[in-house]
């Protein structure tokens, strides 16, 4: 008996049977690797910052006349006295225990800050993601189906304008028009939807529009060109020729095939929406992760930046994984290898 052949055939059988599971496990491991690289990068960046993070703490808590001994104690408290690799291992092992370290600026547990701020950004980001998906894809489909008419011209032009507008500037214009002049919406701020749903919705409208504007416009453009590409294909002509109803052709044959590249880009938009939240949360004075990150970067609050980077990277990697898995549902030609 050829033993290696036996084992490799066993492995092959196992792989064939659990193709999807092994694919997901492999992708998860790869995602973990990417998250680790991100954290190492951010860790290095933060530690290479010129200046001592402790100085910020000392300046803001008014303890300028500390003895070297007390300074050393503070260093130990924030774990800054050890060499860098040890600091990193210490930090990452803390993360697995749910301990993200202590914020130097706020002097509270980073976990508390994150738990407080993350839901806000996820709330806005989720709404923006859904809105951009719904509006972008449907506008693109309508454009492609009505190609050459005035609807197509107008929507395509609007989409071309939409990808050029800086989101923070749109926010300022919306504030000027809807809040200051018309007085329909509150200028800025954020309320949890569980506290006061109506006020929360009113406050969320403008930030969500700003966050999703770029995504809506680019998804419209992409869906339109992808649809036009698919409509040209032979199988669509075959579908017409065999007398399928128009609705079936559009829904099942055209849109489903046209969405494949669109879904990829939607996955990439997640990182973009997170990036946009940095600007939009500043404009609308929203206490989310984006603003926390901006402030922490400027205050050299390294623990908060590391934790925020880790969480953003995890969210982005997970959503890209979901996108990749959903490919198989849209396009059975794609094999998980």
């Amino acid at each position: 008996m050829d033993e290696t052949g036996f084992w490799s055939s066993c492995y092959k059988k196992f792989f064939q049977k659990y193709k999807m599971t092994t694919y997901i496990i492999r992708r998860l491991l790869m995602g973990l690797l990417i998250v680790l690289i991100v954290t190492i990068m951010i860790f290095l960046f933060m530690r290479l910052l010129p200046g001592d993070p402790l100085e910020v703490y000392i300046n803001q808590s008014d303890m300028s006349n500390l003895s070297p001994d007390q300074l050393q104690q503070l260093r130990q408290k924030f774990g800054l006295d050890k060499p860098m690799p040890i600091q990193y291992i210490h930090w990452i092992s803390g993360v697995f225990r749910g301990d993200f370290g202590r914020s130097i600026y706020y002097d509270i547990q980073v976990r508390r800050l994150i738990v407080e701020r993350l839901p806000v950004t996820i709330h806005l980001g989720f709404l923006a993601f859904i809105l951009s998906g719904l509006l972008g894809i449907s506008a693109g489909v309508i454009c492609a189906l009505k190609r050459g008419t005035w609807i197509d011209t107008v929507v395509t032009f609007l989409a071309n304008i939409g990808i050029t507008m800086p989101s923070f500037w749109v926010g300022i214009i919306l504030i000027y028009l809807l809040a200051l002049k018309a007085g329909w919406l509150p200028v800025h701020g954020y309320t949890s939807p569980f506290e006061d749903f109506w006020l929360s919705t009113k406050q969320v409208i403008m930030p969500v529009i700003c966050l999703s504007l770029f995504s809506i416009a680019s998804l419209t453009r992409l869906t339109r060109s992808s649809m036009l590409e698919v409509i040209k294909q032979d199988y669509i002509r075959t579908a017409w020729a065999k007398g399928l109803r128009e609705r079936v052709i559009i829904m099942r044959h055209t849109i489903k095939n046209a969405l494949i590249p669109v879904i990829t880009v939607m996955g990439l938009q997640i990182a973009f929406i997170f990036g946009g939240s940095v600007l939009i949360e500043t404009v609308f004075n929203i206490p989310g992760v984006g603003r926390l990150m901006t402030q922490s970067v400027m205050q050299q609050d390294f623990q908060v930046v590391q934790a925020g980077a880790l969480i953003i990277a995890i969210v982005v990697v997970l959503i890209n994984l979901i996108v990749d898995i959903s490919y198989g549902w849209l396009d059975p030609r794609i094999r998980y290898e």
């Binding site: 910052l49 500037w169 300022i172 590409e229 590249p261 990036g275």
Partner: protein, 310 residues
């Protein structure tokens, strides 16, 4: 009588370049360059884009001759003036002329945009080329690094690097260059992997060309069309990102005019003088629109199949 078939008359075969909208008598039957030019100029939007970009570059070069006032000259007596004949777009909170500052701001945008996209494409293209050409470990290491860059929002990364390096135009350029490495690298990798399979690469190798020469002389020129499109559109994206950074108050040192920071300055005076905040945004929008439209036009002219890819 044989009605349908006239055997005496030979069918006329006309070679017509279907992609070319204008078929001119006397022009060579097939010239790729002429075809690209004629497709590019046959549509209005790319031409408008090109026009805007030329205008932008001229404005940046000749800013001192165009600007009606000195962009740094303060005049406290004339602060926050609405648009008038004297100051076409009004004045800001320090009495500086907004129009002049927008004109000078084009310099900041052009310098940062071109340098950042230049550096990032240089790094990104080399990495992508290496990953695609050598494959194996090279591919995995470079692509995981790129994945990690993409898993983190570009703006936040640039923010982090800019704050690490401190203020100054040079540091913004470095920050944006690092932040923008991923797209050219991934594009180059994808394109080079498909080009690598061609027979002419095999031929070049058989002839004893070195790896470096194959990469530079064979793969790079053939990957040129998508790269050109990506760089054009990337310029718009870089200018947008730069505006975002300067809006957050990072990078450009205050008296230097930058469009993003002008929007932020005007934000505080939105009720008294909305033009202050809105007009620099229009400038950003126009420029990015110009680059995007030109990129789209180039893409359609060079290779319409790239639609949706870039």
């Amino acid at each position: 009588m044989n009605k349908g078939f006239d055997l005496e008359k030979k069918p006329e075969i006309q070679f017509q370049n279907l992609d070319s909208p204008k078929w001119e008598e006397g022009s060579p039957p097939y010239s790729e360059f002429r075809r690209i030019i004629s497709v590019f100029f046959s549509r209005p939007l790319p031409v408008i884009g090109l026009f805007i970009i030329i205008l932008l570059i001229l404005t940046a070069i000749f800013a001192p001759f165009i600007a009606p006032y000195d962009p740094y000259k303060m005049n406290i007596l004339k602060k926050l003036r609405p648009p008038s004949h004297e100051h076409l777009l009004g004045t800001d909170s320090l009495g500086r002329d907004t129009l002049s500052r927008i004109i000078y701001g084009s310099r900041t945008s052009v310098i940062i945009g071109i340098s950042a996209i230049g550096i990032s494409s240089l790094i990104g293209l080399s990495l992508g080329l290496l990953a695609a050409f050598f494959g194996g470990a090279w591919y995995h290491i470079i692509m995981r690094f790129i994945d990690a860059l993409m898993a983190f929002p570009m703006l936040l990364l640039a923010l982090l690097i800019a704050s690490l390096l401190g203020v100054g135009m040079k540091n913004v350029i470095i920050a944006l260059s690092i932040g923008m490495i991923a797209p050219p690298c991934r594009l180059m990798c994808g394109v080079a992997m498909s080009i690598k399979e061609n027979d002419y690469i095999l031929a070049a190798r058989t002839m004893g060309m070195s790896n470096f020469r194959i990469m530079v002389e064979q793969i790079l020129p053939n990957a040129f069309p998508p790269l050109l499109v990506m760089i054009t559109i990337g310029l718009g994206a870089t200018i947008l990102a730069e505006a975002g950074l300067s809006f957050l108050g990072i990078g450009i040192i205050p008296p230097t005019p930058a469009w993003g920071s002008m929007v932020n300055d005007g934000y505080k005076f939105l009720l008294t003088n909305p033009v202050l905040s809105i007009s620099p945004g229009v400038a950003i929008m126009l420029v990015v629109f110009g680059f995007n439209m030109m990129g789209d036009g180039l893409r359609d002219a060079l290779d319409p199949r790239l639609r949706g890819v870039i």
